[in-house]
């Protein structure tokens, strides 16, 4: 469609704005905060600590020889990226309404910058994963790591698609923000983060892997902890993520003209 080619070109023209807005988002987030970037680690670390206490002391879970901290953190870091990025994206337009209603620029810059700012947090959190792996003497720099860029790309597509839909809908109905907060909470437990996939009944797995995050998390674990290629469930995740990205972007572009009129 020529219109969408134009939209991409315009976004490309505004890549400097995207960069500037991402930097702004990161700077503004950690201005007047004592811990600054440490918060990027504290959030997944605290959750992992809680789950470690519960699932090693109270209800021991079999994680197939992987230390629970490593098991949980390797999933919690990408999950935290997804959940914080989507939460920020849903808010990205509404908190900047004064800008949206006064100045023109491609509106997707705001939610995409919100996601990119969280990508930085993800990078920080991921570097802590390395430290944990070193601590447990886990082999790092395995050949299987070549799959990492692919997995991250699939996850980015999924976040973008869901986040763009959320951001656009939240302009029209503020309920969307609360709905997404609730949805993310449920989604966390529908994803093999605190428990291994082995506890999911065999006959329900096909349904379970319709959750693209299940395939993505399993792929991260396979590559990082098992030094293996991702399972075929990643293909399902990739297809769903690609569909979400296309749907999200088209929906966003379709309704974007109305944003400024809805202050």
């Amino acid at each position: 469609m020529p219109m969408d080619a134009f939209a991409f070109k315009e976004l490309h023209l505004h890549r400097e704005l995207l960069a500037a807005w991402t930097v702004r988002t990161v700077r503004a987030r950690y201005k007047q905060s004592v811990l600054g970037g440490l918060w990027a680690i504290l959030q997944p670390a605290a959750t992992v600590a809680i789950f470690t206490v519960i699932f090693t002391l109270f209800i021991p879970i079999d994680t197939a020889n992987v230390p629970y901290v490593l098991f949980a953190y390797s999933a919690m870091a990408p999950w935290t990226f997804l959940s914080t990025a989507i939460t920020d994206m849903v808010d990205a337009l509404t908190v900047n309404m004064n800008l949206v209603s006064k100045i023109y620029f491609p509106r997707e810059v705001l939610p995409i910058a919100a996601m990119l700012a969280r990508l930085l947090d993800f990078a920080i959190a991921a570097s802590v994963l390395l430290i944990i792996m070193l601590f447990y003497g886990w082999p790092i720099l395995a050949a299987s790591w070549v799959y990492l860029p692919l997995i991250v790309t699939i996850q980015l597509a999924l976040i973008l698609g869901v986040g763009l839909i959320g951001a656009a809908c939240n302009v029209f109905y503020r309920d969307v923000k609360h709905l997404f907060a609730l949805g993310l909470q449920i989604w966390l437990y529908a994803t093999p983060i605190v428990y291994p996939i082995s506890v999911v009944p065999e006959h329900l797995r096909w349904l379970y892997f319709l959750n693209p995050m299940a395939g993505i998390i399993e792929a991260y674990r396979a590559v990082l902890l098992q030094q293996q290629a991702p399972a075929s469930t990643l293909v399902i995740a990739a297809m769903i993520a690609a569909f979400m990205l296309a749907a999200g972007y088209l929906f966003f572009k379709r309704v974007e003209a109305q944003f400024a009129d809805l202050v």
Binding site: E16, A28, K102, D261
Partner: protein, 430 residues
């Protein structure tokens, strides 16, 4: 005609009132909303105009006239409901003070952020950075968060960035009002500079002095429609007339509903039906050249016999000061008598020995004994005077200056200068 902006039959409709739109409406599916519905508001309706490169046009009008909506349409913040807008080249818009600034970031960071929002590349901003800082005059505050800036400093920085994007079209809402006089003058100088390079300017302001100073063209808007388009001076004058017509319309409606407006004692046995200012060619004039002869034409209809009424012509100046007030009685004239059902007309030929500014004319028709008015129209029309010299005040006294050749000071003046000598003598006598 080559244009830099074309505004072609543009309308903009807003939904008003409570209630959320349905998903179907958001996606633009299903039936369109009834345009006549009470739930919609036409902020701009069927407006067309063009602007050539290098021209500056002011958009003036009361609140709710559609000025800001027009700027938002031009800057693509919002899409027109119907019609087409075409802008050639890069534009920069300054619609609200501090929009595009992040309060927690420093002035330096915000220059880059705001420049990026306006579509500048980082390298371009870096090249113009010193100019921007210098123009805004904020060197010492570059590393202070913008939230600690005064509103004047914020406005200066906002204008400085927008004016250095090198726009082909610059759109400015009333953001300069908060700047001090010196800064406003600096802004106008910069606008002129941009215009000389071929940039066009759209300027929204309530300050009529600024409008006349900055713009050559004027567009008067009222209730979303184009009420008048012409030169800036004409538009300023016409704006007052547009306001008055609408005020009198609503006053009439209020009267009809028994509103009981506090009126002067008017019998309305005769009514003034038309007040106009015409040039020597007989055409309506709202922009008058200083020193020019113009005629005030007052037409009226009589509903009862009117015996030798007294006519008055009253003029007020730009600051509401009385400039001129005369009546046929003061002039020693005896006016004719009129019968019921007759129509009359009186013209006052006036010589506009006035300086630049807007002037307002009131006129009335009174009983011969001045006990009552037949009719009194306050602020019947406003016109502006242009082309006076740059003297201040209201009256153009056409100063004719002559220098006598210099002569040496004479030695005969001993105690003080010659002017105080006489006074000194008088004091001694007392």
């Amino acid at each position: 005609m080559s244009y830099s902006i074309r505004f072609d039959n543009v309308s903009k409709r807003y939904r008003i009132g409570r209630g959320l739109p349905s998903l179907r409406q958001i996606l633009g599916l299903g039936r369109a909303e009834n345009p006549q519905s009470a739930n919609v508001h036409w902020a701009v309706r069927d407006v067309s105009w063009q602007l050539a490169p290098g021209e500056a046009m002011a958009i003036i009008g009361p609140n709710g006239a559609g000025k800001t909506t027009t700027l938002k349409l031009l800057s693509r913040v919002t899409q027109p409901t119907s019609g087409a807008i075409d802008i050639r080249g890069r534009y920069a818009a300054l619609i609200e003070l501090g929009a595009g600034f992040h309060p927690d970031l420093t002035g330096r960071e915000n220059i880059f952020l705001n420049g990026a929002i306006l579509g500048m590349k980082r390298s371009e901003i870096r090249r113009r950075f010193d100019q921007i800082v210098d123009f805004a005059g904020i060197e010492q505050y570059l590393d202070t968060p913008v939230k600690r800036y005064s509103s004047g400093m914020t406005a200066r920085l906002g204008f400085a960035v927008a004016a250095h994007v090198d726009p082909d079209v610059l759109l400015i809402d009333e953001v300069l009002a908060v700047g001090d006089y010196a800064f406003r003058m600096k802004c106008y100088a910069r606008m002129n500079e941009l215009r000389e390079r071929g940039a066009s300017l759209i300027f929204v302001s309530h300050n009529m002095e600024d409008v006349r100073r900055v713009c050559d063209r004027g567009l008067v808007m009222y209730a979303g429609a184009k009420a008048f388009a012409g030169t800036a001076a004409e538009a300023v004058a016409e704006y007052a007339n547009v306001l008055r017509q609408n005020a009198s319309r609503s006053a009439k409606e209020a009267n009809g509903a028994g509103g009981g407006l506090a009126q002067r004692r008017m019998t309305h046995e005769a009514r003034i039906t038309r007040v106009d200012l015409v040039g020597e060619d007989g055409h309506t004039r709202r922009a008058v050249i200083s020193g020019e002869k113009v005629s005030l034409v007052v037409e009226f209809e009589c509903y009862a016999d009117v015996e030798q009424p007294v006519f008055a012509c009253i003029m007020h100046g730009p600051n509401g000061e009385l400039v001129y007030d005369t009546t046929t009685r003061v002039l020693g004239l005896t006016s004719p008598s009129y019968k019921a059902g007759q129509r009359g007309c009186i013209t006052y030929e006036l010589t506009a020995h006035l300086l630049d500014g807007s002037y307002t004319i009131s006129t009335d028709l009174a009983y011969a004994d001045l006990s009552c008015y037949y009719d009194f129209v306050a602020n019947a029309l406003t016109f502006s005077v242009v082309g006076g010299n740059r003297a201040k005040g209201v009256a153009n006294l056409w100063a004719n200056v002559e220098f006598l050749p210099p002569t040496p000071v004479e030695a005969t003046v001993i105690d003080g200068d010659s002017h105080s000598k006489e006074n000194g003598t008088q004091i001694l006598q007392i």
